[in-house]
Amino acid sequence: MLRLPGGAVPGKSSIVIKLVLVITLCSTLIFAVALGYNYYSSRSILEKELESNARNLSLSLVNRVETELSVVSRVTEGVARALETGRYSEKELHTLIRTTVEKNPEIFGSGVAFEPYAFSKTSRLYAPYYYRENGKIAFTRLDTSYLYVPYLLWDWYQSPRELGRLEWSEPYFDDGGGNLAMSTCSVPFYGETDGVRHLKGIVATDITLDSLTKLVSSVKILKTGYAALLSRNGMVLAHPLKDAVMNESFFSIAEARNDPSLRELGKKMVAGETGFIRYNSLVGVRSWMYYAPIRSTGWTLAVLFPEAELLENINRLSLIMGVIGFAGVLLLTAAVVYIARSITKPLRSLAEATHVMASGNFDLELPVVRSNDEVGVLAQDFQVMKESLKEYIKNLTETTAAKERIQSELQVAADIQASLLPRQFPAFPERSEFDIFASMDPAKEIGGDFYDFFFIDDDNFCFLIADVAGKGVPAALYMMVAKTLLKSEAQRLGEPDQILAYVNKTLAIDNDSCMFATVFCAILEISTGTVRFANAGHNPPLVMDSQGVRYLTLKSGFVLGPMADTVYETERLIMQPGDTLFLYTDGVTEATNLTDDLFGEPKLLNALQDGPRQESDQMIHAIRDEVTRHANGAPQSDDVTMVAITYRGTVV
């Protein structure tokens, strides 16, 4: 029984591991893609939202700043227009300026600076200025308080004078005004002399940037996001980094950072553009920045959203999703393992059962699989297969036993057949006149060759060789009959032609199957060495005498058995002492080797010529050896039978 190599233990490629690997990897991949896409699209949605939020926030801040500034602009404009339309005495002028400061809490100080001699023909410069100091309104004269540079040369005076319109000054620190960042709104006013409009002076209103920077600084975006205000020149006006306020400009920062893109950004801001960009803030935080101009002053307002804080929610969400996904994959893996095990468990037990069956044990109980799925069907089929195999093997065992019985009976038959042939050698040790040796090597299958020799009387010794057509039991039975008849008729009739004719007649009766035997039958008259022989279709024997070795010339005669009225003829041969007659069946000459070459008659002739001639037993053994050598391992297909008789002559 075939036994499969190796055990039934599944290796690394077990179904469970395959399923787990494939399903886990696939679901992990799907989940990772979904999570990644979700993160990416959430981010881009967030960025879009952010831009519009940033824009709204900036614009509202810009509006609020503009509102505060426009109050101051309007007041300043009002004073200028008042000065153009009415004539104000010095006292009335002072009252106007003082009232303006008093009524408008957002105004730090206000003054009117006249062109040379525009106020009085006698004094060249005149510039009264009211301002707040310690909660009261204080007064000074700019024409005298500017000690080294007359007010005429200052920006707040020069710009509106040259441009002829309202101008906000670049913010500055006021030396006397309590170290506050200030900006001045300057409006030119004009008079008419002889229909010619000419500049009379500048109304200047100072504001501290305190409230504006407070307004801007109060903006808190997320945790650390903020708003910043930059002047027309890029000066930082409001920023959570207090050190930078009024100290650093956008361009100095760009210089310090050696960042050309920052400089470009500064240029865009100064040019009054609007933008939404990614930006590393002054404190080094990656942020999104929206910037927009404050038109009236040319300043820029920027709002910054720190990226990390913006993405915090998304990141947290993604993390939670990741954790949930991981847990899900773990759960899925567990489920897959469970299902795969439930599928492979019966498969495994089936495999184990197969392993036992493979060693030839068909009596084991197969594991019960109750499921209706494919595994259940397999288990049922397996059960059926096991029963069929068991039945088949039972039948096979019985058939084999029967065949073996027949085989052994045939073997017994072959043994009996062989035992019927005379096998005692030397056969007649008391007779020195001749010696005889014979051998019959049956083929695997029981066959029909035989030989026989016996005394008919004291002087007549009969010897014969025969080959029954075909093989197997019919040939063996026919051989028995033929051999028995030949011996009895030989002893009764004593002449070869009569023996053959009589036996033929007997065998031919009811021989519908046309069984036949070829027989060479001879009788040696010991006293004379005369051999009387007759042939029934058998191979001619070989004569070995002083002349050499030759085939005996004889009349063939028809084979024994098929035709009742066949006639045979007795011929004669005189043997001299030392002469040998060699009889054989076609099992000798038709012995084949592996390439189907026949041993053949010439080879037999040569073998006899070259072989030992003195002893008939040695002669036959030598021929047998030659035949075996020729066959070279090819199976023997026919019985190999030989008889050698050597005449020694009568004892004198």
Binding site: G470, C514, F516, G557, F558
Partner: protein, 111 residues
């Protein structure tokens, strides 16, 4: 052994090639029996392509010849030569069967 039959001049010519032995003799017997059942009882066997004949082959020839004789039929052998001829000579079969040198001669003789 290959067995082919053809009809020629009201006679069935059986051509046998290869080895005529215990293995192939039943095929030959079956073929001839079929012919006899079909009423073809005039037969010429062409031995030209036959390499070898064993005693079982000879028995096959005898069986079929006997059947044909019982039905009043005839069989002739053509082109028996070489080792097959030797076997025929040794066994005496050459004396009991009617043999011709050619198929044409057999056909002529049988007509």
């Amino acid at each position: 052994m290959e067995i082919q039959t053809r009809n020629e001049a009201n006679t069935t010519v059986i051509t046998i090639t290869g080895r005529f032995d215990a293995v192939t003799a039943p095929d030959y017997e079956k073929k001839v029996q079929e012919l006899i059942v079909g009423g073809d009882i005039r037969i010429v066997v062409d031995f030209a392509g036959l390499d070898y004949i064993s005693s079982a082959g000879l028995r096959g020839l005898l069986v079929t010849a006997k059947l044909l004789k019982a039905k009043g039929g005839q069989v002739r052998f053509a082109n028996v030569a070489g080792t097959v001829k030797e076997v025929f000579d040794i066994s005496g079969f050459g004396t009991i069967f009617q043999m011709d040198a050619t198929v044409a001669a057999s056909l002529a003789a049988i007509a």
